[in-house]
Structures are given as C-alpha cells and as structure tokens.
Point group: C2
Chain length 143, copies 2
C-alpha cells in the first residue's frame, strides 16, 4: 500500500509558512489549524524546511521565551525527509520511527502536494493489519 | 494485553512538574528530558493535571509569547484521563484516539506510577498484531 491511499482519504491540503515567518507566528498557524507541524516553502510550494511544535518547545526550553522572536529559518529542519505518492506506507513509517519525527511532506515534481503524519500512518497501518488478520481468521474458520 | 506489559519494558520513570511551575519552566523540563508532556503533581505523586507541548504551542499561538509566564495550572488539562496497570492496551488506545491526546498517566492507589504515550501504545500494538498475523500464517502453511 502506498501514500496515495492515505492522501486520497485525508486530502491534499497543506498548511505552509513563508521563510520570513517568526516562531511566534508559526505558533499562531499551528493553533489556528490544529496541526503539529508546518512546511516552510518559498515560491510555489518549493520546500525549504519543516518545523514542528516539538521544535518550538525545545528551542524555547533551551534558549528561553525570546526564542519566539527567531525567524523560522533559524530553527526549522532543513534536511527534510520527503516521500512521494508512490512511497510505501511501511517505508514512511520506518523513516518516522528511525528519524524520530512525526510528519513527512509528500512531493511531486519537487513541489509539496500533501503531508503525512504519524497518526495517519498508524491509523492506516492498524486498519490494514487487522484486516489481514480478519481475513486469515475467516480462512482458518472455513478450513 | 495490559498496560503492565508496556511499563515492564519502558520502566516506571515519571517526569513531573509542581503546581507553581511557569510554562517557560515546563518547556525547559520537556526539552531536558526529550518528552512531549509532563504530569503536574502535588505532594507525593498525587496528580493535579497534565500539560503537553501541544497545549503550550496552542496557548502561545492564541495569547502570544507572554503566555509563557503563565502558571502551569492555568493551562494544564485538569480532568486527566488515567489508566491502571491492569487496563487493556486496546482500551487506552481507544481513549487516546477518542480524546485526541497522546499521554495517559498510570495510577495506583491514587498515585502516579508511570506514563504511557501514543508512541508506546502503537509500537506495542503493531508488534502484537504482526505477531498474531505471523502465527496465523504459520498455521495456514502447516494446514
């Protein structure tokens, strides 16, 4: 199963921030849209970085409240791990577990076309594995 | 399977904050321990509330950076959903999904004895369901 299956259910909406946004403004965006991370883009959805609520709390915890005045580019993750619609869900889940992050942007032709969260992956994965188990239970019952 | 199985692997360490902590101090605690939520306690591990990195980012986003000077008691969730070591993992997972939170304190005799995160639950659940599927695959192969 691929990322396309998740996006077809979840939709392709993406919430982004510009490179000149301050961390305090990113907090507003996260709060308004009730999300855990925003992708930082330039121009027409070209990915420059990603910043999560965890990144913000960590920098405030280590540098103090004045860190909220920092530009997002000073704190965001710049080496963004991305996937494509054709990536397998298992592969994306493994990337998240290994890298300890919760959001993976989906790109097509170098442009952002969606974001997959660990919640999306887990919901999908549990449904898939339980469906497989149910099919085998039926098979065993019939056998 | 019960919460006890997760705690036996993860341990019973709990990171707490006092009722007089400020949000800026909670950020320090979250950053230092690389965790996503702390339980607010009085006296000897009596739970008063819980606060997550999401709660902090939301209040900074809606009220501005000065919210970091608020006492934790103004922002924490006071009606804390808890579980016991005997609670089933499925039950705790359903509570998290329904309530849209990621951390559930484990209590015994009204005292905090551990914290289960959605990451813990998911890791455990996926291993369990895959183990079950593997067993059925073996059964089918032998049949």
């Amino acid at each position: 199963m691929t990322v396309a299956a998740i996006l077809s259910e979840k939709g392709h909406d993406t919430i982004t921030a510009g490179k000149d946004a301050l961390l305090s403004e990113v907090c507003q965006t996260l709060a308004t849209h009730k999300i855990g991370a925003v992708v930082v883009c330039k121009g027409d959805k070209i990915i420059e970085g990603i910043i999560s609520e965890r990144d913000i709390v960590r920098v405030v915890g280590t540098q103090g409240p004045s860190a909220l005045d920092l530009p997002v580019t000073k704190v965001m993750t710049k080496e963004v791990i991305t996937c494509s619609s054709e990536s397998s869900v298992d592969e994306v889940m493994a990337q998240m577990t290994k890298g300890r992050f919760r959001h993976v942007p989906v790109v097509k032709d170098n442009k952002l076309v969606g974001v997959i969260s660990i919640g999306d992956v887990v919901k999908f994965k549990i449904a898939q594995v339980e469906h497989e188990a149910e099919q085998m239970r039926s098979y065993i019952t019939m056998a």
